[in-house]
């Protein structure tokens, strides 16, 4: 634990991320308001208005333009951030690939929300999963503290010379973005020291060295660019671990590629992203008291996905229930597919997949109990009745 003096504050997830962004003090922040991420820009524009940041905010006319402006500002040589959710992210999709293809370390606060139609503003992971293949680093956060910490670490990861990729920090819409919880902020000076000054690589504003970005590359060199992005993603794994270790040393909060909760000797394991993990931890504790060897694996880094590490962590489990708050209709849930890929070399536990909480439907402790009970049953029989099923849904 570092010698940091921190005071406990009561803030929403949106306020926590806005505070992190204030401390990061980006050069440019283009955005377009969309529920439930709106609060981030609202708090942030107040910081701008009060002269607490040097950031140029641009209130653009759509998210497509927001990400386009991010790309322009980042290519010019600025440190850049934006915030969005759901439809906003969907509208950015074309530009997401361009941001990563240009290798621009843009930071996005992504407040997870269900995608239309039917229209819904509540939290699920459909938006984040939709950007899976866009070559953005994806960090997931259980609560406001994790969202804040991930945001503080984001530029260190994205801007690393071995990475140079954009990064999205996810947190659950409403459940986290709008709920007040107690957490701690790191003092400004320490954040500044931890993050460091931005050194742009090949910025367009270096007018003594003119260059072109985004040139046409046909079959002759396109694959080399894409392969380089994949390599950068693989490099990101080590950078994330290193930055997280430094963060833990300085500020005391430990993060890794994923969180293991009572996992070492667990026989029945639940896997879930973001806020559901909080509910699951309580129920894991209850089952542990009853003598059931239950555990939780909560991925923090979804891209790059830590296949080897997750595979090793799950190889001794008997049954694993992978919970998806998004679906790949006609396929398995996106998290399930990753976990299946991770455990495949180990011939390890029996896996099954539950889709829960779409459109913000609550996951109650009792729902988690039912899942743990079913996982115990699967561990006993060695067989899952159905590989994939929705829970808490009308027939």
């Amino acid at each position: 634990m570092g010698a940091t003096t921190t005071k406990i504050v009561a803030v929403t997830g949106n306020q926590a991320v806005a505070e992190a962004l204030r401390q990061l003090n980006p050069d440019v922040m283009p955005a377009y308001p969309i529920t439930p991420s709106t609060g981030i820009m609202e708090s942030f524009t107040k910081f701008v208005s009060d002269g607490k940041v040097d950031t140029e905010t641009i209130l653009v006319e759509s998210e497509h333009s927001a990400m386009s402006a991010c790309i322009g500002a980042s290519a010019a040589g600025g440190r850049v951030a934006t915030a969005t959710s759901a439809q906003g992210l969907a509208l950015m999709w074309e530009m997401l690939h361009i941001a990563s293809g240009y290798r621009l370390p843009i930071l996005m606060a992504l407040v997870n929300r269900a995608l239309s139609a039917p229209l819904n503003i509540h939290g699920d992971h459909s938006d984040g999963m939709g950007m899976r293949d866009c070559s953005w680093i994806q960090l997931f956060s259980e609560n406001a503290q994790e969202a804040y910490d991930n945001t503080i670490m984001a530029y260190r990861i994205a801007e690393h010379k071995d990475v140079r990729l954009p990064i999205a920090v996810n947190m659950d819409g409403f459940i986290i973005s709008h709920s007040i919880e107690s957490m701690t902020f790191i003092p400004d000076a320490e954040v500044k020291k931890f993050v460091g000054d931005y050194i742009a690589i090949d910025p367009l504003l270096d007018i003594d060295h003119p260059k072109s970005i985004g040139a046409l590359v046909l079959p002759d060199y396109y694959m080399e660019h894409k392969r380089a992005q994949h390599e950068a993603m693989l490099n990101a794994k080590k950078v994330i671990s290193d930055v997280s270790a430094e963060f833990a040393r300085l500020f005391g909060r430990k993060y890794d590629l994923f969180e293991s909760y009572r996992l070492e000797d667990a026989e029945v394991v639940l896997v879930a992203l973001n806020s559901a993990a909080g509910t699951i931890k309580d129920e894991v504790d209850r089952y542990r008291e009853k003598g059931v060897k239950a555990g939780l694996l909560k991925p923090r880094v979804f891209r790059p996905f830590p296949y080897e590490e997750v595979g090793a962590a799950l190889k001794n489990a008997k049954a694993v229930c992978v919970m998806d708050r998004a679906d790949s209709y006609g396929g398995y849930g996106p998290l399930f597919m990753e976990i299946a890929s991770a455990v495949q070399p180990h011939r390890g536990p029996v896996l099954f997949n539950k889709v829960y909480g779409l459109g913000g439907r609550d996951l109650m402790p009792l729902d988690v109990d039912q899942l743990i009970d079913e996982t115990i049953e699967v561990a006993k029989t060695g067989k899952a009745k159905m590989v994939k099923e929705y829970i808490t849904v009308r027939n």
Binding site: P33, E61, S62, E63
Partner: protein, 259 residues
Amino acid sequence: MHKVFSRPSSLKDKPFRYCPGCSHGVLHRIVGETIDLLGVRDRAIGIAPVGCAVFAYDYFNIDMIEVPHGRPPAIATGMKRSRPEAIVFSYQGDGDLAAIGTAEIVHAAARGENITVIFVNNGNYGMTGGQMAPTTLPGQKTTTTPGGRDVRLAGNPLRMCEMLATLDGPVYIERVSVDSPRNVQNATKAIQRAFKNQIEGRGFSFVEALSMCPTDWGLTPKQALEWVRNSMMKYYPLGVYKDIGSAQGVKGQERMGQV
């Protein structure tokens, strides 16, 4: 006893959930009464935007569709071309029509689509909590312009009627307000004409209504009315911006339901 008022059958018997002092209720009723009056309820299709009026489908007793942010004019184009007999109108706010959907409205107008557009301008993004919109007045305070809109940073407001009036496509463009009984009557006439144009196959009609947003403006309804009159109308003058061979006002016998 003479019955002086009934709820238009084009509106459901459902209380509006809009904020006190908001103009959506008045405008919904004008649109509902117009559809009744022109006898097109059985073939009217309304398009709800994203924004406060996203729930318009809860209030209109006609076929409604809710579509992605800013896209109503494009959806309306597809609808009207596949079902020319349908009376298709979009009901959009300024965040929807003048920001994310600017391209759609400009091109639908340029093509002269035979649709009716009701544009509700309250100078901010109401539903998300009062952020700056393209229509926010210079100096106007919003949650994202806490010191007032600085045009050097945030640009100048868009005047949609004036912009669209430069195009050859539209037949009828008018800006109205619903801040007084007299202006409500004028707005009613304008909306009637905009629907009649479509029924008679004349082409693209666009009615912009200045609307109050007391909640997000941080004003009482009375102060909000004054803001509409003293600030909005100065930047967004009321009046007809384009009228090329458009339908005349609804006549006496038509009011009796003999259209």
